[in-house]
Symmetry: C2
Subunit: 357 residues, 2 copies
Amino acid sequence: MAAMKLFSKTIENIEKVSIDSDGSIKDRFNKLAIPTGSLGRLEEFATIYASIKGSSDATIRHKVVFTMAGDHGVSSEGVSAFPQEVTRQMVKNFLDGGATISVLARHAGARVVVVDCGVKADFEPVHGLKIKKVGYGTDNIARGPAMSREQAIKSLETGIEAFDEELLNGIDIVATGDMGIANTTPSSAIIACLTGADLSKVTGRGTGLDDKGVERKTNVIKTALSVNKPDPSDPIDVLSKVGGFEIGGIAGLCLAAARHRTPVLIDGFISTAAALIACAIEPKVNDYLISAHTSTENGHKIALEKLQKNPILNLDLRLGEGTGAVLAMSLIEAGVKTFTQMTTFSEAGVSTPRVEK
Amino acid sequence: MAAMKLFSKTIENIEKVSIDSDGSIKDRFNKLAIPTGSLGRLEEFATIYASIKGSSDATIRHKVVFTMAGDHGVSSEGVSAFPQEVTRQMVKNFLDGGATISVLARHAGARVVVVDCGVKADFEPVHGLKIKKVGYGTDNIARGPAMSREQAIKSLETGIEAFDEELLNGIDIVATGDMGIANTTPSSAIIACLTGADLSKVTGRGTGLDDKGVERKTNVIKTALSVNKPDPSDPIDVLSKVGGFEIGGIAGLCLAAARHRTPVLIDGFISTAAALIACAIEPKVNDYLISAHTSTENGHKIALEKLQKNPILNLDLRLGEGTGAVLAMSLIEAGVKTFTQMTTFSEAGVSTPRVEK
């Protein structure tokens, strides 16, 4: 019950973002010693960031990527190219610093927080890992619901708790990440459910299925949707019927970040599915979300269109972990730095345009 | 004459790049604890970088952006929204650290080297500035050639000398940048000449012309091409007739970087025009060039197609200075770090795929 309170209290306290409410951000950009608008999306990034923060001192000090991990009962249906134990092994790899997210987070100057939302294995408590296990993997969605409704709310709270705890160490901006063998399967189910798109348009190769594998996976999702009948108007029902513990965790992270007026870089396919759930729970969350990149996973663009997001990068990534999100985070930071560190025409003694547009 | 020797010696010593000649780069990526190909273009970036360096130790230590500055006689034709004195003022702003390139280079951990290739003003010698003036601005291309053929070669050598000198301070990767009021005008002329594209397709708003301004600019370029008749088969003729000192400088920088097996991030419209000249002088240079971003300037895509480059970023930038190039440089570095810092399946104890593609 205390837990349920955390969830309700978080969503009740999410405010809408008013973009550059007093025009002061635009005004500053127009005074910088550059042609008007020539910074392109860097100006957009700074505007979003400063509007969310509601502060003209928008310096970014603490960057955090949360990599949320969970296992999926549906992996027994052969929907992934990798065996289930890889979830556990990769969590260890994240903590040892040799994974892609470890390398790219160091490059971006972000700290990595790994959250066990429901891996089918026990971990020793170590620095950088938060154990918030809702269960030892979800149940097989091809046979019944992934989890109970209570567990779905608990999974959302893994993300809320992780964020709230880390706030003590400082968080200015967040990147989402995921690890969970077979988790493109529940993500496709969620996206089909919440966008209304045809399943074939939102089901892809994941970590490397061949055509036959994709066909099998599509059939498994079809079965999962017909067995569970998730209610598209009830995002928690969707999460519990065809979701995953780490997907709930990422959705919860989005809720908590929004509640604390913190911008969130949404990573790829799985994170975007989670973002759809968060926005369906509380539409105001969308104001805090920035799409990091376009994944090559089939259907990612459909999910992004539903969120009305224009991704920053297109590097043909399809790895998850938060990898695209930390790369894009660095570009947000670049935009914010143009806002805070550049000199104006008058400060720099630079002449203004002679031809007015 | 010593100068002419520097130019010839540089181009004679440029070698072709063989991409991953022994397959060892691909082999390493296939062993990393990720699904095959899931790093997308990051793998491509590391492959290009390591192939150019010809070394499996591909660590990037020294990142340098060269911002080449020069003035243009054609600015008297009203082809730019800004007055000519802004070139000088912006050089000062670069050196004072308040310009966009100053901010973004700090963000990327790159050092900025400003080169005066031909600004119409004298500068005090200060740290970070190389004075290699070929002239006090080019002549007005609407009336005659921008410069003599000898000056064109000298302008190429400003870039070669700047690179060669900085090599002593360490250079692992280079970003190009430009500053020169009115320099989209000669760039459009060069691109039209070397790609054969219609002038209207490669002439744009520059720093902010309105439709009438673009029409005037297009007519000025048309006049410049008919007055000077640059020979498309002779890139030095094109540079001398309708180019610019800083454009020659950037082209020379590309030649010198290639000669020293150093990857070059090509910035936007002006840098791409310069890259076309460098590649026309010596086609092998193209192996060392990476397109950083797509500028919004009309015709940039046509120039990139001629170079057969797929730009990394698309952030609607149109600023020059090297701003897009340093942002993309950081992504090249990210790719290289995945190559050098990640652990393999066996090192990390991660199971390999159970389903073969």
